[in-house]
Point group: D2
Chain length 366, copies 4
Amino acid sequence: MSLNSFGHLFRVTTWGESHGPALGATVDGCPPGVPLTEADIQPWMDARKPGQNKYTTQRQEADQVEILSGTYEGKTTGTPIQLMIRNTDQRSKDYGEIARKFRPGHADITYWQKYGIRDPRGGGRSSARETAARVAAGAVARAALASLAPGLTIRGAMVQMGPHGIDRAAFDWAEVPRNPFWCPDPAAAAAWAGELDALRKSGNSVGAVIEVQASGTPAGLGAPVYGKLDTDLAAAMMSINAVKGVEIGAGFAAATLTGTENADEITMGPDGPVFSSNHAGGILGGISTGQDLVVRFAVKPTSSILAPRKSITLTGEETEIVTKGRHDPCVGIRAVPVGEAMMACVILDHLLLDRGQTGGVRGPIG
Amino acid sequence: MSLNSFGHLFRVTTWGESHGPALGATVDGCPPGVPLTEADIQPWMDARKPGQNKYTTQRQEADQVEILSGTYEGKTTGTPIQLMIRNTDQRSKDYGEIARKFRPGHADITYWQKYGIRDPRGGGRSSARETAARVAAGAVARAALASLAPGLTIRGAMVQMGPHGIDRAAFDWAEVPRNPFWCPDPAAAAAWAGELDALRKSGNSVGAVIEVQASGTPAGLGAPVYGKLDTDLAAAMMSINAVKGVEIGAGFAAATLTGTENADEITMGPDGPVFSSNHAGGILGGISTGQDLVVRFAVKPTSSILAPRKSITLTGEETEIVTKGRHDPCVGIRAVPVGEAMMACVILDHLLLDRGQTGGVRGPIG
Amino acid sequence: MSLNSFGHLFRVTTWGESHGPALGATVDGCPPGVPLTEADIQPWMDARKPGQNKYTTQRQEADQVEILSGTYEGKTTGTPIQLMIRNTDQRSKDYGEIARKFRPGHADITYWQKYGIRDPRGGGRSSARETAARVAAGAVARAALASLAPGLTIRGAMVQMGPHGIDRAAFDWAEVPRNPFWCPDPAAAAAWAGELDALRKSGNSVGAVIEVQASGTPAGLGAPVYGKLDTDLAAAMMSINAVKGVEIGAGFAAATLTGTENADEITMGPDGPVFSSNHAGGILGGISTGQDLVVRFAVKPTSSILAPRKSITLTGEETEIVTKGRHDPCVGIRAVPVGEAMMACVILDHLLLDRGQTGGVRGPIG
Amino acid sequence: MSLNSFGHLFRVTTWGESHGPALGATVDGCPPGVPLTEADIQPWMDARKPGQNKYTTQRQEADQVEILSGTYEGKTTGTPIQLMIRNTDQRSKDYGEIARKFRPGHADITYWQKYGIRDPRGGGRSSARETAARVAAGAVARAALASLAPGLTIRGAMVQMGPHGIDRAAFDWAEVPRNPFWCPDPAAAAAWAGELDALRKSGNSVGAVIEVQASGTPAGLGAPVYGKLDTDLAAAMMSINAVKGVEIGAGFAAATLTGTENADEITMGPDGPVFSSNHAGGILGGISTGQDLVVRFAVKPTSSILAPRKSITLTGEETEIVTKGRHDPCVGIRAVPVGEAMMACVILDHLLLDRGQTGGVRGPIG
C-alpha cells in the first residue's frame, strides 16, 4: 500500500479529483482471460451513483466507465486495465470561500498543511467521488473471482444509522436492495427514513455502520503477521473516506467476552471442518477458515452541514462556515458498494498471493 | 505490507517461531546517526516480557536483544539493523496432542490448511511471542523519533477489560505503570484484579481494549487514499495477534453522532490551529492535524483455556481439547507495549515518507 | 518494480496498448508545488514522436498529452498525475495473419504462451509505443528536478549504430539535435545516414548503443545492496523495449582493466572531492559520487523486417513471415529520449528516497 | 526492490557488515513444504567461500549457515527463513587509516557523504562479504526450484579475465569445477593462472566477465514493461558488488547486428517451438521463451591494490593510499556462485509471480 495504490498482486491505483476532467483506476495484475466489458462494471457503478434518491447527494453523474486498456475482444489480457470515469456535473461555482476557509472535519486543512497547495473544488482528491474508481476496480475483481472462487458471494448492508441498529434476528439479505439504505431489516429501514428526512431537512447528517460479508471464501487465504487477511481488510476499509473504525467478526464485542464464550468450536461436517459459531469472522491467525468473512466499519457523519461551525481562514482569522452544496445526509449509504468493492479486491489479491506462494496446496483434514 | 514486512521506508520484517532458536526483526531504512545500543531497546522489551506478574504467562524469557548489524560505535549507519532475541524457555514438552488436534480460536487449522505443514511447538509463527520482535523494532523507531519529532510522546493504556471500561474522568497517565494492567484508572485496576484472579484460577480468559495515543505528532503526516495515516495505523494494529477491531478517534461512536456533534471546530491559537475537540483522533483525510493521534484496538480473549472445547483431529475425528500450558488470562495486557511499538513504527515511517515526497514543506496558516 | 510500475517513491505505472483508444502513465508520489502543464511535457513527447524523418516509423501520432489529474492552477498537488495520450493512427488493417503467426524476435509467442490471450494489433502492450508514456512521466520528473536539483542536466545520445561507433574525441553535445540520429559526432552521423538508407530500402534494420549522462547529480543518491542507484538504472534501461544490455561508466570495458588502470583517483577541489577519471560512471557502492552519471544501453535491431523469416502458426504449422508495416529501421534512435526519461525518473526517485531516509544529511569533507 | 530487499514474492533482505558479529538473509515468501536443512545450503556457501586457493582473499571464514526460523522437521513452513552466518575472522586490526582516508574505487566516500557515518571495518556493509548472504538465499531458492521446475539447471562460469576471453568452441561445463576460475575452457584457465599469479604478486587486480545460464526454464515467466524477467535479472546482477554491466543473450553484440542476423527463427519441434538460435537469451518482451536464459555481467577489478593511489582524507587533505589486507586479485572469481544465486532467486520469484497471476495457464501451440 503506497500512497494511492492498494494490493500486492492485484494492484489498484486510483487517481483523479472531484472536479477535474476525469478520475479512474489503474488496475495491474489482473489474471488474463477474464470476460470483462464496460457492461460488467456499470451495474456496480450505478449502485454507488449519487442522486438516486433523496437520501444521497443530488450531484448528477452518469459515472460511465470506459475501459481504455487491458482487454481484447472482451477479455482481460493480463496487462494493466485503465478504467476512466469522466466528471460531467462539476457545477460552475465560486470556490473562493472554500479556498480561503478550512471546513471542519474535512481534509482542507491537512492537505494545505502537508502540501502547501490544494484543489478546493469539491474537495479535490479527498472527495468521496474517489470511491467511484474503487467500485470500478472492485467490479474487475468480481469478474476475476467469478471463475477463481465460483461459490463466492460478497454482500454489504447498512446495519446501523446513527444510534439505531437493526434487529439481527430480522436480518434478510433479500431486503437490502428494496430500500434506499441497503438495510437488511425492513422495520429499521422504515424508521431510518423518517429520521433521515428530518436530518436532511435540517441540514444535518448522521453516521452509520456498514457490514460486508463474503460467503464461500476458500480456506487458506492470508498470511502470517503483516500479510494477514484481516490486516488488509482493515486497511482497505479504513482507507475509505470518512471511515473511523473497522472490526472483524465479533470485533469490539470480543473484548467483552471470556475465552469460553468466544471459542468457535470445531466439528467435522460432510465437506470438512464446521464451526459452531463465527466470532472469528472467518479468519484465524490472519488466514481464512472457510467461514463467512465478516467485516464492519463505522462511517462518520458527513462533515458538510448547514449548521454554522467555527473555523479559521488561510490568514488565520476566526470565522464561521456553513457548507452549502449537494451533500449526503448519511454518506454511509453510498459506502456499502464501496465496502463490497474493497472486499472483492482484497480477496482476489489474496487468492493470487496464495496460489503464488503455495500453489494452492492444502493440508488435508480427515 | 507484504507477508512478514511492514512499512514503506522504515521497513520492519519480523521472523521466528515461538520455540525455534531465536526470533527477531530486520529493520531496513532507519535514518543514519541515531544513537542506538541494546540498552535503548531493552527497557521496552522488559515492559512486554512475560512472567512479570500473575496476570501474564509464566513463561520465563530474558528477551535479551542483540543488535547484529546496522550500528557503529553506538549509532545507526543507515544499513539494516538485525535485532535477534534468543528463545531460552522452550520447555521440553510433548507437542504430540497439539500436533494432532486443532485448538479452537488458534491458527492451527488455518496454517495447516494453507501450508500443509505447521510448527506446532507453542503455536510456531502464530505465537504472541512474535510481538517481542515488534517491540524491539518499535524501540528503534522511538530512538529515531527522539530527534525527528522531539515533542512526540507515545503512550498506551488498557481502557477496558472484558465488559468493564474505565472512568474516562479518572484517566491519569501516571497511574498506568503503577498497576499490572497498564490501567489509567486506579479504581478500575483494583476491580479488574479481582476479576482476573477469578478468571485465571478457573482457567478462563477475557478480552480487552487498548488505547494508544501519540501527542506531539507533527501535522502533515499521511497521504491520500491508500497511504492514509489511519489506514496504516489500522493495518498495524490489526496485524497484532488476537486483535479483532481498530478505531481512530471517536471510532465506532462516530457512527452514532450527527454532523453537528461530530465536528471538531477550529479556532486560532498562539501556535496555529486549535481544535475544540478530537473526534477525528488527530487525522483528517488520512493526514495528521497535529492533535493527539488516538487509536484503540480490541483484543479477543486468549483462546488457550482450561475448559474443554470441541474440536477435530488431523484425521477428521471429533474430540475435545483443553489447552494446558503457560498462557495469559488477558493477553490484552501485554498488547499495550506492542501497540505503542506499532504506533512508533507507523509515525516514523510516515515522517520519512512525508519528508521524502514533500521535503517537509508546510502550507502556512496566519 | 511490480509488473507495470517503476520506482519507489516517485512511482510510474504505464498502461495501454498500441492500438487501443489511449495509453498513458499514472504518476504517484510527485512532490507538490511543481509547475506543470501540458506545455512542459509536450516538447519531450515531440522528441520521441514517430514519423519525423525517414529513419523512423511513418506512423503518424500527434502524441498529445492530456493531464487528467494531479495539478491545480498549473502546479502539482502531490496527488496522482494521470497522463493520457490518445492513439490516433491505428490504421485499419487486417491483423489476421499476425494473430495466427508468431513474428520472430517479437513478444507474440511469449505473451501467447504466458497469458493464453494476446492483443495482436500492433504488438499490443509490447509495442514500442508504450515508451511514449515513459517520456511523459519523465517530463514530470524533469519538472520536479528543476527545483530539487537545479544544476542537473540529463542528456542522451546515440553513440553506436550497428558496428559503427563514434569518435569519442569528436563528442559534442551541441551536435546531437542537429542530426536525425541524436549523434554527437557529425562525421559519424553523416556515415550512418547512408548506411541506414540502404538498410531501410532493403527492409532490414540495425541495432544501436545509446548513452545517457546526467551531470550535476548530487552526491549521496542511492542505497546499499539492492537499492543501488546503478541497480535501478540498470532495471530502468533494461525495461525499455528491445534493450539487451546496460553498463555504467566503463562498463564491460572495466572487465578488461587492472585495478591500477581502473582507479578513479581523488583529489581536493575548491568545492569538494575531484576525481581524476570516471570509470565508475558516477557511482560507488551504489551511491552517487557527484560525478556525471554515465549509462549506456544496447538496443537490438527491430525485429520487423521485410526478409522472410521462418516461424510457426498457432496450430504449430511451419510458415514464413514478412513483417510489413510502418517500422523503424533503427529503433535505437527513438530510444534516446526514452533513456533520458528513465534516467530522470530514477534520479528523482532516489532524491526523494534519500531525503526520506537521511533528510539530506551529508558527511562533511574538509 | 527497496534498499536491502530484493524480489516480489520470494523476497530476500540481506543484512550485516563485514566485521560485525554476523550477517545473513531474511527470506520471506518461500513456498511451504520444501525440504531444507543447513546441509542443503552449505555446499553453495563453500563454493563462494574465501581462502580456498591463492587466487582469492586469504580471509578464513567457515561461512557456516544457521537456519534460525522458517523450517520444521527439515521442511520449510512458508514463514520467514532467517539465515545467519557468523563472522569469525574479523582480524584485529587498526582501521584508523581507512577511517580517515577514502579508498579510491570503494564506497568509503559515498557512504560517508550520504550517511555522515560509516563502518570502516572491512568496508562495512559495502564489503563483498555481503554476497555470502545472497548465496545462502540462492540455495533456498534452488531447493524450492527443485520441485517447482524439475528440469532447471543453473550454471555459471567465468568467460573472460581482463582482456582474455575464452574460446567459445571449447566451452565445456564439465571443466568449470576443475580449475580455480570456474573457467569452461581449460586452455584459457591455464593461461589465466599465470597472468593472475603475476598480478597477485604485484599487488594488482583485474576485471572479469561472468556468464550464468539457466537451462530448462519454463516458458512464460516474466511480465510486460517493468516486471520483465530481463529487467529483474539486470537489477539482480547489477546489485552485486563491483558489477558494472549486464547483458542478456547477444547483449551489446546485438547492437552490431542487422535484423536478419539477429532473428531467432522458429520451427516446430516434437515438444513445441524450437528456435534456430538464441540471440534473445531466452527472453522476448520480458517473458521467457523456454530457451536457455543467458546473462553475462562485467566485474571491475578489485579496487584494493598495493599500488599507491591518490586520495583525500576526511579533513580534505590530499594523501596517498595503499590498500593492504586480504583481498581478491580477481573478485570476479567469487562472483560466479553469487550470480548463480541471484539467477535462482529471480527465477523462483517469477515462477511464483506467474502462478499467482496466471495460475500457470499456458496458450497452446499446435
